[in-house]
């Protein structure tokens, strides 16, 4: 295994005539939180789907933990949270968690589930059916499912949409704790204050990764005070 946990090289993806990804290269080192930002429709979710093997690229390749994707058994090491909530609404929160724990073959996951429910502040709502959850509760349950298991990589597609500021803070400190334990985390977000909390920011525009560096370095380069301004300035100069 090389030192890069995620290696994306020369990725190309077209949908009909539209070229969404045009020669994407990204090397992500171990135990880092990477923020993937870019305008809506830039192709962030598409990159994630290709990484997981749900979409096939037209050319190029992705390697996770040194292994070529798609690879089914590798999925056991990956926690994934999709942009849409994708929960079984007729089941309770607990039943959802247990089901996905079973899919990852975690059979005695009670204490793990308790801890994760604590992090996303759903301990009291676990016995409620998901259909009766609020939007933010669904988002948190969805995140909890992604956190299940013995993951080395977490891939989160806009995890904090609809989550209140206090809880958002709590979730980010959990992500940082997991990073400190050696997990690599790829997060997409439209909240630029969250991008400040990452170790490195990848800026996806016009089908290319136009910047990939620490937030501080990017601010220095663009001579601005926030990642938000970096984003806006980069979009202007494009």
């Amino acid at each position: 295994m090389g030192q890069n946990v995620i290696e994306i090289s020369h990725l190309m993806k077209k949908f009909a005539a539209q070229t969404v990804l045009n020669d994407i290269n990204l090397q992500i080192a171990n135990a880092k939180i990477i923020g993937l930002i870019g305008p809506s429709g830039a192709g962030k979710s598409t990159i994630i789907k290709i990484i997981l093997g749900m979409e096939l690229p037209d050319s190029g390749s992705t390697k996770l933990l040194g292994k070529q994707m798609p690879n089914r058994s590798l999925l056991n090491k990956i926690g994934y949270m999709a942009q849409s909530d994708a929960l079984y609404e007729q089941l309770t929160g607990l039943e959802n968690l247990k089901f996905f724990a079973g899919m990852k073959k975690l059979h005695h996951a009670t204490s793990l589930i308790d801890h994760i429910a604590e992090v996303v502040d759903l301990s009291d709502a676990l016995d409620k059916r998901v259909i009766n959850y609020s939007g933010g509760m669904k988002r948190r349950l969805s995140l909890a499912i992604a956190l299940l298991g013995d993951n080395q990589i977490l891939i989160l597609d806009e995890p904090t949409v609809g989550v209140d500021p206090a809880l958002r803070k709590k979730i980010w400190s959990e992500l940082q704790r997991l990073r400190d334990q050696g997990m690599t985390i790829l997060v997409t977000t439209h909240v630029m204050s969250e991008a400040e909390l990452t170790d490195e920011v990848a800026l996806l525009m016009d089908g290319k990764i136009i910047e990939f560096d620490q937030p501080e370095k990017l601010k220095e380069k663009y001579q601005v005070k926030t990642v938000e301004e970096v984003f806006l300035k980069a979009e202007e100069t494009l």
Binding site: L52, G53, M54, L56, P70, N71, R72, S73, L74, L75, N76, I78, Y80, A82, S84, D85, A86, L87, Y88, E89, Q90, L91, E95, F99, F100, G102, M103, K104, K105, R129, I145
Partner: protein, 355 residues
């Protein structure tokens, strides 16, 4: 066991969805009951015939249980009544009969034709016997007819003929629809993608569906079978176990079919659009309409429809007490459908995850 966990999840979702539960377990009973009512009314309709100048011995023979005969003075008069009160007018001219049918109901026309034929034969026969008797003076011998029915009794009607097929059809129809919708729902809500982001095998998903809908089908079959036997008083000559076995295999085929078709649908409405395409042909070729009467070119289609094999086998078991040797070929064909469709389903999930 992932397969069992997936099956359990589907069953829990189903149990909490009261409307779907009713659709699977109660709706078939309701429809069967209604069909029994509709088809059990005496199919014999009564007809009225007007006669002009017809000789009285023939009129006497015609006038019977389901046929009323009214005599008219003139043909014009009688024809006026045709359509309103009369189904046919019989006019006699120099021993020839001239019959005009209203023909708004083909079955009535057919019935009158038959009766008229019979009456004519019987008048001629009695003339013949009396002349023979006059010559030879043979002692009269009375014949007595005793009817025996291998299946059912003298009240057996169209409903009894189609009920074995109907049992299978309901299993097929509802399992097809519900399982298809269930996977479709999983696809559109995104849970299928999420499921496929775990190390689950594609085959485990398909087998999980099979297991859960297999169990549903067993319960559904039991309910339908016992309802038809106890409430609708339909006689099953053969082994009940075979009836359940055939329905069970048919349900698995329906499920695999439903899952496969759901991959071609984008919404529940589009799933419904498969009903005329997939379900209706199954009715036509299931044996409810006798296949022997179809043109051989058309009949070939039936060999590609699982309902034909299930309908055949069910009819044999219910109506003539067929044993395993008589139905194993049909079961084998259903299994072929099942294996092919299952493989297609496992392959079809590749659309959502490439490994």
């Amino acid at each position: 066991m992932r397969i069992w966990m997936i099956a359990k999840r589907i069953l829990i979702e189903l149990l909490r969805d009261k409307r779907t539960l009713m659709l699977i377990f109660i709706a078939p009973l309701l429809i069967l009951f209604l069909m029994k009512l509709v088809f059990s009314v005496n199919s014999q309709t009564d007809v009225t015939v007007g006669t002009v100048d017809v000789n009285s011995s023939l009129v006497e023979k015609l006038d019977s249980k389901h046929m009323k005969v009214v005599n008219y003075a003139t043909e014009k008069h009688a024809l006026k009544e045709l359509n309103q009160n009369l189904d046919a007018v019989i006019v006699s001219e120099n021993d020839d009969l001239d019959v005009t049918y209203s023909n708004t109901d083909a079955s009535k026309t057919k019935f009158i034709k038959q009766r008229l034929q019979m009456a004519l034969i019987s008048t001629r026969l009695s003339q013949l016997t009396s002349s023979v008797k006059r010559i030879y003076s043979v002692p009269e011998k009375k014949f007595k007819i005793t009817n025996h029915y291998q299946y059912g009794n003298e009240d057996t009607n169209f409903f009894d003929k189609i009920v074995p097929i109907l049992m299978g059809f309901f299993v097929f129809f509802f399992v097809f629809l519900i399982s298809g919708m269930s996977l479709l729902n999983e696809r559109t809500s995104g849970t299928l993608n999420r499921l496929l982001a775990t190390p689950v095998r594609r085959s485990e998903i398909v087998f999980g569906y099979m297991l859960s809908y297999g169990l549903v089908a067993i319960v559904q079959t039991l309910i339908i079978v016992f309802f038809t036997i106890w409430a609708l008083k339909v006689e099953v000559i053969g082994n009940l176990f075979y009836v359940i076995l055939i329905n069970f295999v048919l349900a698995l085929v329906a499920m695999a079919f439903g899952l496969l078709m759901s991959t071609f649908a984008k919404s529940e409405f589009q799933m419904m659009q498969f009903i005329p395409l997939i379900i209706v042909p199954q009715i036509f070729f299931s044996g409810m309409i006798p296949l022997e009467t179809m043109a051989s070119g058309v009949r070939v289609i039936s060999y590609f429809l699982p309902m034909k094999y299930a309908g055949d086998a069910l009819t044999k078991v219910v109506m003539s007490g067929a044993n395993f040797a008589d139905i194993y070929q049909a079961l084998l064909m259903l299994l072929v459908f099942l294996v092919v469709l299952t493989m297609l389903n496992i392959f079809g999930l590749k659309k959502y995850r490439k490994v």
